[in-house]
Amino acid sequence: MADKETTRLCIQIVQDQFGTTPARVAAELLSRGRLRLAHIVRSTSIKSRAAANAILILIQHNILWHCESAVEGEMFEVNWEEVLARLRFGRYISIARDLFGEPAVDILSFIMDHGKVRAGDIVQSLIQGINTKNTALYNSTLISLLKSMYIKPTSAALQISPRDRLIRYQEEAERAKRASAGAKKGPLAAKDLLEVRELARRRLKEEVDNIEGGGFRRRAKDAKETLTSRTPKRQKIDEDVLDEDIYLRVNYAKFNLHIRNRLIEQSASQRYNESAGLVIRAALAAALPSESTLHGVRSEILTMQNIMRHLPPDPPLVGIAIRPSGSGSGSSTEAGTQALMTREYVNILCAADNPTEAGRQSAFMAYSGLSGAVGGGGGKKVAIEYENIGRRLRFKIFETFVRERWGELAIRVLRLLIDKGKMDEKQIAKVAMMSKKDVQPLLTKLVSASLISLQEVPRGADRSAMRTIYLWYIDLAKTYSVILTSLYKTLGNILARKNAETQKVSAILSKRERSDVQGNEENFLTRGEREALTAFEEKRLRLGVLERRVEECVFILRDLAPDGYAGES
């Protein structure tokens, strides 16, 4: 269940996008966990019909999970990650525009507006709305969106919380195990339990893959058989037609890959230069087709040729202090330079000149394969180190945050603690070259911000403060979650402020919405009103930018660490 700040943010989002009643229902569910409809009605004192409608809306938009419990009956639960993903819709749409053009934007917004839509209805409704557009274009865009998994099929089964399903499958597997021949009485052995869990997990994954991998129906002969696994039949997919009855929704994971790639590129170009950014972008693009989620420690293995193929011919790579001085003709020299530059940039991105642990941690890519492992003797295959990059980016967020708030000295102390583990005040002061009177208040500030912690080591049984050593240390996993919470709170504040600003001009806004005023603002609105509106638009724009930037930090901290912060150091 989400914590306080996440809950607040979720409620705000639901409030903004769906209105008061759904927000109240969501608030109830978020703060209390799973509830039955009757329960919601009782505690919110919303009319049961209204509450039911709100729940329907939220389910339609994938925000609620549906749970069927033998004891309690039908219950609902909020999927808060889904709510937070709604903040990214703008980004997703702009990614879709870049990739597939305007029709994709229309399709995507349509699906987003409706949460999930029957495949057959999408194009038709769109055509009705904007009747001039070309049906074939929309159809083909829809199919390519689906094929490349930017949208994915969904089904009733996926409306049930995956945890519930997992538990159910586990129970079933356990029962099967007990029923199987030769099973003993009593509790299952540890080995069997493991096996049962693994079975259940696999079954869950298969189920999801089955549903999400579908969406097409084989044409002609065996029209009823939907495709189960996509990859092996990819070649035949051309013969398949869209299964019109299937429900489609947006596949956030695929879009998130693009967000991640952009961030990585940004980071590389800031750390090195634009050309380095281009190279890593090419590598990312080369790796993209084989990826579907942010999980994964590193990319598939890429060859130099592969990377070079994805490099745009223009602008050429520059920025390394070498100059080709060739006797060859112009064009081939350029190709040669480009290849040379690419290879050297890959070296740089691999931090090849710094084989120490610190260097490895700061690398974007790594050589793979045997020759690469041994001192990099010409290993020409590389992989992008996603986990490494994620860790680095997280740390950068942390660093920027600390720097802006507490200054350079705080960074120095924190990095010292990360590097050296537990230290007492004197040691910190010595290595960080700070005077004790500076260190003390700083440490106090940092500890009150929950960035660092204190460990007491008493030297005597009496535990008197005089005879106790106080050691400071930092637990990055904890620190990151503290920062994430602060980020949620900030986002909440921004949304709240946006609302407050909207409230202030709500009278003018509704006046502008009037049909007689629309398009005629000059005549109907006073000068003061118009000025207020312009000021408001400006503020909204700024807050919007702010919101996206903070959201980006959330992305780095949460989504780039799909497996949590365990083992962070």
């Binding site: 060739g326 081939s332 330079t337 050297e344 700070m434």
Partner: protein
């Protein structure tokens, strides 16, 4: 026996003691050395002992008597002292340049406080000892021999002025070092690119600790001269600040995209391995893509391409040029595409330094330290602006962040807070992170 003879013997005994290692000698050896009757010697020794010219010690291991010869000056000093003073003085003297705390002194000498105070006063009056303050224990009264300078441990080294950590001094020096490292970390900007980089095989422009120390001395930022160890502390600090990174001096030698400029002679077998590896690789590649246009330079790293350590002078004087003849011909014949034959010069931008301090003027003194350096160099990092968006929100810097709440309508809430009002009304230029 005449008095003259006796004093002669005493003189000889004393000289033997003074000439012995540590001015210390065992009784047996001493007697052997002078070769006189034992009784005579003992008399002479007793005289010397009473005049404080000898000190009787007992060897802790063998339990044998040993004598230490004391210089005349010291003996004269001691001659003027009474027993207590002598005791106190010997302890202070024994603490050398670390000094000794009055409490420790009292415990060691077992003297009463008033006696101790009297002794110390007398010793101070005779200009034999002085009090110092230690940066570690600023409240303690510590005594030390007058003629000694407090050790760096006690005085805190160059970082302390009047027993306070001189942060301004530290900041100005680390700032200067940072600027210097930055100036050496990146090639000069060209028209094409303002953020140039050195290839991974070249690390010779990145400074080592020794070079930085030399530069700092020449730059004369302050009258205090810093030693290499001090500079190292500053560098470590800068690494912790995330401003610079430390990397091995050898550079990347396996990529083979460019010639490796750094000498790698000290690592012969690795060279061997490397060329073996790339050979292998080359064959593989040839098989796959015989006419690979991408491969314009071979991945081979050859020993004869390497230059000696002697490259330092070149830094400032001329652009470095490397030709790879053997490789060229090889690649050409490999591919049969002469038009693809590209020659690459490493055309490094001249490393700029301030006012002629640094590369050109100091190159002479660097040469030695380069070869003898500790094997690491320092490189500045370009700062990434990840996550700045949040840091620049009003909330990111808000002092009331923890109290801010819109739930119970407290005095601090996002709906009306003045931080947002100011931020929203500030002109665009002042909000650095926002480029709409």
């Amino acid at each position: 026996m005449s008095a003259k003879k006796a004093s002669d013997l005493a003189q000889r005994l004393w000289t033997e003691c003074r000439n012995a290692p540590n001015h210390t000698i065992t009784q047996e050896k001493l007697l052997e050395a002078v070769g006189e009757k034992e009784s005579l010697c003992k008399q002479a020794i007793n005289t010397l002992l009473s005049k404080n010219l000898l000190l009787l010690l007992t060897d802790s291991k063998s339990g044998k008597n040993t004598y230490q010869g004391i210089s005349r000056e010291d003996a004269a000093i001691k001659g003027n002292m009474d027993a207590d003073e002598h005791l106190v003085y010997s302890h202070i003297s024994g603490s050398r340049n670390e000094g000794i705390w009055t409490k420790t002194l009292k415990a060691r000498t077992n003297l009463h406080q008033t006696v101790l105070n009297r002794c110390l006063k007398k010793l101070e009056g005779k200009q034999l000892v002085k009090t110092i303050t230690s940066v570690k224990f600023p409240t303690r009264k510590i005594y030390m021999r007058k003629d000694l300078e407090p050790s760096a441990d006690v005085s805190g080294g160059p970082w302390y002025t009047d027993h306070e950590l001189d942060t301004a001094f530290i900041e100005s020096h680390s700032e200067a070092i940072l600027v210097y490292i930055r100036s050496r970390s990146f090639p000069e900007a060209t028209d094409e690119c303002s953020e140039m980089l050195y290839p991974t095989s070249v690390t010779k422009y990145y400074p080592t600790t020794a070079q930085i120390t030399v530069w700092l001395k020449k730059a004369q930022i302050s009258p205090t001269e810093l030693e290499e160890g001090d500079v190292q502390m500053l560098l470590d600090m800068l690494v912790y600040s995330g401003e610079i990174e430390v990397l091995p001096r050898t550079g990347f030698r396996g990529g083979g995209v460019f010639d490796s400029d750094e000498s790698a002679a000290e690592d012969g077998d690795r060279d061997h391995d490397e060329s073996g590896g790339s050979d292998h690789d080359e064959k593989k590649r040839k098989r796959k893509r015989p006419a690979s246009r991408a491969r314009s330079s071979s991945s081979k790293v050859e020993g004869d391409d390497r230059e000696d350590e002697n490259e330092e002078d070149e830094i400032a004087s001329r652009p470095v040029k490397r030709r790879r003849k053997s490789d060229q011909s090889k690649t050409r014949s490999d591919r049969g595409q002469p038009s693809d034959d590209v020659e690459f010069d490493l055309d490094f931008a001249r490393v700029e330094t301030f006012d002629g301090l640094g590369a050109s003027s100091a190159s002479g003194s660097w040469k030695g330290s380069l070869t003898g350096g500790s094997g690491v160099v320092y490189r500045a990092l370009r700062r990434e602006r990840m996550g700045l968006g949040w840091a620049q929100t009003p909330c990111g810097r808000c002092p009331q962040f923890d109290f801010c709440s819109d739930k119970d309508k407290g005095p601090v809430n996002p709906d009306q807070c003045k931080y947002y009002r100011d931020w929203l009304e500030a002109p665009i230029g002042e909000i650095s992170a926002i480029d709409i």
